[in-house]
Amino acid sequence: MADTGVSTRRTLRLDERGTAGPGGRSDEVVIGLSPAFGDFFTKTIVDIPHAEVLRELLAGIEEQGVHARVIRFRGGSDLAVIAHAAAKLSGSGIAVGVLSRGTTMIHQKDLVRLSNLELFPQAPLMDLDAFRKVGRNAARYAKGESPEPVPARNDFMARPRWQAKAALLHIKETEFVVPGADPVELDVRFQLADAG
């Protein structure tokens, strides 16, 4: 199992701020969240807290001097759909889509939906460092740079361990889909929980 490297517990508060619209600033990256991210689900398939996932993504984006906006997509649980819809709302045209189980994609609004800039299909291999690098690369694309893709990792023993659980997580997430629902802008707050 991936070492989550988390010693202090952070909790995540996501407050809805109404329907999300297109972004005005060209120096932003949108993070598109799946229906149950940080809600029904609290951690990825390898137990990385969603608070930490989001924190690393945001840190990766912000360390490049780029602005981040977080939007939840309740309309579907397909990663390509979420990432592509997020890219269309992004002022730079760049977005990161992330599913509750940790599968992640960087998308660009002018690409066809089934294409992408970078895809990280194996959720069990996504650790904190990988999420930080995804955020960083997304920001660099937004600045018009051509970063080296985050090295893709491959583990041929991931299937026997995680495939069925991934299917269950996907089905469960799909239960939270509200067909036709508008994307919602989120306020993100992290709080340090009491040790316990």
Partner: protein, 563 residues
Amino acid sequence: MTTSARRSKRTEALEQRPVNLDGFVEEWPEVGMVAMDSPYDPEPGVRVENGVIVELDGKPRAEFDFLDQFIADHAIDVEATEQAMAIPAVDIAHLLIDPRATRKDVLAVSRGLTPAKLLEVVKTMNVVEMMMALQKMRARRTPANQAHATSARDNPVQVAADAAEASLRGFRELETTLGVVRYAPLVAIALQVGAQAGTPGVLTQCALEEATELELGMRGITAYAETISVYGTEPVFCDGDDTPWSKAFLASAYASRGIKMRFTSGTGSEVQMGNAEGKSMLYLEIRCILVTKGAGVQGLQNGSISCIGVPGAVPAGIRAVLAENLIASMVDLECASGNDQSFSHSDMRRVARLLPQLLPGTDFVCSGYSSTPNYDNMFAGSNVDAEDYDDWNVLQRDLQVDGGLRHVPEAELLAVRNRAARALQGVFAHLGLPPITDKEIEAVTYAHGSKDLPPRDVLEDLKAAQSVMDRGVTGLDIVKGLDAAGFTDMAHSLLAVLRQRVSGDLLHTSAILTPELETLSAVNDTNDYAGPGTGYRPSGARWEEMKRLRHVVSAQNPEQEVG
């Protein structure tokens, strides 16, 4: 669980066992997370009016989804169905395992059965009975095996050498795929060349997106195709951007160019994609099998394939995987029976998953066996890899069961790997592709995997790969290149493979080419199993070959080893 509970030493030992790294989940029949025993699967039934099936497994024709309609109109024999459906499921199961009933007797019944009825039949059977049945229902009398030959760096030199070794070890089919898809033309050429260096007549394929795969086949750079996927529910079929009609048309397209092909399906894909419509994995797979039958395709790769982690995680999942192989064979399709994806951390469990296909024999026991170490396997790992060769050979010898492979002394392996790489060097030079150095040939002769090889200039290779497509290079150009480089026997062998598409003999069910370049299929090598003492049994020269291993003590002089 309480964290403070004291654990026994035994629990600690068990916790360390590799099997506990595997994933197991509870059944959830409402969403299809169940192998083959779901209360939501339909009851078998059929109604025919004026020569048309108007009701299938309790559903009236007006409510048929596109799979129901395709199966009713193309797969099920309307003349035979009412009579066949009247036979109790358990009686059909008896027919399957009774050696006095011939394969033909079963086919006379199975041609009229609906998906729910086929499910009901196998639900009455345990795994031993299913293996009995599979031994009789396999279409080709002689079993065979298929290998993967891929490279983590898409290195064509490696693929040629591993293909040659796999070919010499006994595989009759070789499959490759890519990390970087644009590499495909070079790697497919390497596979084709390497395959001919081992034993003649090995057929090759390159797993790609449907249209590209067809193009490589039409050019004769590959010899057959397999990655033509079908799915068991309408939404998942549409997500795959196909329908039974588009796939049936594609099947005819392949045949129209004289190219052998089979479809691919497997339990677990629908629930994996989140749209199983609350049906069991096996019921949905049976629909795939019958769509394949109805499309007039000669065969199917099934046995869960890339979704093996899903049936593998639920109760009776591996029984269901055997059942899907059996049903494919029982409706007279060639069956390339899986065992081709990383399945378990436990060696014990890997073998248990393999035996139900290895013991009865299937048309291709693995589809395929990784001819590289699994780290190089670009199908995300296989259930068995190059490090399992000796174990496989011992299993064959222990049980006197033919899994299609043989032990080959190292000197012969080194020679054939070297020869394949030199032949590819010649073909690349002939076609004006980036050079293969003598240093690369030396390295690949002795290599285990891509880590042992000098890296190639990937950008130059990719440019060359594109030029292969732009210039319209075909299989004939590879033949000429082999001849020009002095590898005339390999040139002859490849031409013989290409010539097969003129005759169409390989289009028949379960067809392979023997090392003597003779076509062996269900037409001229019909499985004639009829109980003890009949059917295919390794004997004669083949059995002598199977007795050889890396280390066997000589009876003549126990201080020495034979072989």
